[in-house]
């Protein structure tokens, strides 16, 4: 009988933080305003999905059953796609090592770091599809244009990732090598690289995964691989074959992701 009034006196709800509540409301308000403001620009017409539902059903039915008649050619082109990704990534890793070191503030002076970083920024800023279109003009249709496109774009990305790893190294072993009387290049070779190598390998494998996905689309602009087949099928309204190609891409990319993830775990 005595306990209940005592507990109600001791327990009280914490004071409501008015400022936090206002901030939360403002946050939601901004998000809502953004979505509404973009509605018109994005030409959102959700009711079309219902209005033209019949057409869509017919369109979707065109994909089934997938047509695997040309499976041999599909697999060959998928292999070419993988080969584009392998060479694009390999060249990018080779280029990203010096560029990554030269854009690390703890290794290179600022007048080297800044220009190299800006060049790498521009490599990253432009999508590989754009590079693919440019290289198709430069070296002609085919996988080599795809390799070059992936090479340039991936160099920009890996150089940034590599340099971030370099900037996080423990400076003490590097100083140990410097105190020996070693050349500054040797400080990097023996003091920095052993420390960052596992991370670098992991980054390179991760970019290889992404590049397999990218290599399937550079074909859309004529830069070789399975993307070319995909583009031809879509343009020719050959949806059963399109479905088959897409399935092959999904299976290959999934398998490679799984494999590469396993491999990356070994290094980190």
């Amino acid at each position: 009988m005595e306990t209940s009034p005592r507990t109600s006196a001791a327990v009280a709800l914490p004071a409501v933080d008015g400022r936090a509540r206002t901030l939360k409301l403002v946050g939601w308000g901004i998000l809502g305003a953004l979505l509404i403001g973009s509605w018109k620009g994005a030409e959102m017409r959700p009711f079309d999905l219902i209005t033209y539902g019949g057409n869509m059903k017919v369109f979707a039915q065109g994909f089934f059953p997938p047509d695997f008649h040309n499976w041999k050619m599909f697999l060959e082109e998928m292999l070419v796609t993988l080969q584009i990704a392998i060479w694009g990534t390999a060249l990018a890793v080779v280029a990203a090592v010096p560029f990554g070191i030269l854009s690390a503030e703890n290794v290179a002076p600022w007048w080297v770091v800044q220009p190299v970083r800006r060049v790498m920024d521009s490599f990253r800023a432009i999508n590989e599809m754009v590079f693919a279109m440019l290289f198709v003009v430069a070296v002609g249709l085919g996988p080599f244009a795809g390799v070059l496109a992936l090479f340039v774009h991936t160099t920009g990305i890996l150089a940034k990732l590599f340099s971030e790893a370099v900037e996080a190294v423990d400076p003490r072993p590097v100083e140990g090598i410097r105190a020996i009387g070693a050349h500054p290049v040797q400080e990097v070779i023996f003091g920095v690289i052993p420390q960052v190598l596992p991370l670098w390998i992991s980054f390179a494998l991760y970019r290889f995964e992404s590049n397999v996905r990218s290599a399937t689309v550079v074909g859309l602009v004529g830069a070789g691989g399975i993307g070319v087949v995909l583009w031809e099928d879509i343009r020719g309204f050959n949806y059963a074959e399109t479905a088959a190609v897409m399935l092959i891409i999904v299976v290959t990319v999934t398998l490679l992701d799984l494999f590469s993830q396993r491999l990356r775990k070994l290094f980190t």
Partner: protein, 297 residues
């Protein structure tokens, strides 16, 4: 012959933003000479400038430009390492003659101990052969010999990061041996070690000094070790030399006059007997096995 000459050396570090006001001068007009073959202790409480001085001697830090007409300089065996705020253009060649042993060992953790020790020769072999890591059979044998000398030959193929602090520090001494430096500078080499490891590291340094005639400068904040291993001691306080003489003269009253309240830090382990490693507690405060009377472990 003079191995190390330091003349009017001063160093001021830019005060960190928001840092406490006060003197940010780490070294204050230091002048000293160390003769070839000496084993000298550099004594001082933390913040007294020991590490800063050692980093200046190896050309890892550049001193202030001369003030009041005095030019600060460091000469190694008669050659200028730095002078008036400028490093010598030959600093890399000079560094090969000055091996540095660091408090945190500064080995490359992911390389094997043998590879780490081999790197000690980098300054003496050609750029390309060194950069490609193509060490000769003779160099590898010399590295193994150095490891055997500090009792670490069995761990040659182990990654440096898998070794204990004391083992890494002995590996670092082996690297200094391979460097064939005439001078070894050791910056608080035993500050991160347990007493038994500390004793072995100090024994190794003393042995190299005695057998090879290598000049050894070792910074310590425990006077007991200085008295045991180094005939001469140089004491720093607030960046200035406050004592330079035989280490046995550093008795308790002298230290308390020199350091005031800080002298407690220096007198830790004052109980260090001639048989050293006995009743000294381990770093974590756990008494060593010997101290609690378990023998033969």
């Amino acid at each position: 012959m003079t191995a190390i000459h330091v003349g009017n050396l001063s160093k001021t570090f830019p005060r960190p933003p928001g840092g406490s006001p006060g003197n940010s001068r780490a070294l204050n007009d230091i002048t000293l000479d160390i003769a070839t073959g000496e084993m000298v202790a550099l004594i001082g409480a933390s913040g007294s400038g020991k590490s800063t001085l050692i980093r200046h001697l190896s050309g890892l830090v550049i001193a202030d430009r001369g003030i009041l007409g005095k030019t600060g300089e460091v000469t190694i065996a008669g050659e200028q390492m730095q002078c008036n705020g400028r490093l010598s253009p030959h600093v890399r060649r000079l560094r090969t003659d000055v091996a540095v042993i660091f408090q945190q060992f500064n080995l490359v953790g992911r390389l094997s101990l043998l590879e780490n020790v081999l790197l000690g020769g980098l300054g003496r072999i050609g750029f390309w052969r060194g950069s490609l890591g193509r060490f000769s059979r003779a160099e590898k044998l010399a590295a193994m010999e150095a490891l055997a000398r500090v009792g670490m030959a069995d761990y040659a193929m182990q990654r440096a990061s898998t070794l204990s602090g004391g083992q890494q520090q002995r590996g670092a001494i082996a690297r200094a041996l391979v460097q064939k430096a005439a001078i070894i500078l050791a910056d608080e080499p035993i500050a991160s070690l347990d007493p038994e490891s500390a004793r072995r590291v100090m024994e190794s340094l003393a042995q190299i000094n005695a057998e090879d005639g290598t000049t050894v400068v070792v910074s310590l904040h425990q006077v007991a070790y200085a008295k045991k291993y180094c005939p001469r001691a140089i004491a720093l306080s607030g960046g200035s030399v406050v004592f330079d003489g035989p280490s046995r003269a550093l008795d308790v009253p002298t230290l308390c006059t020199l350091y005031g309240a800080q002298c407690e830090e220096l007198l830790m382990d004052e109980t260090l007997g001639p048989d050293s490693a006995s009743p000294v507690d381990d770093v974590d405060g756990v008494p060593s096995l010997r101290a609690v009377g378990i023998r033969g472990v």
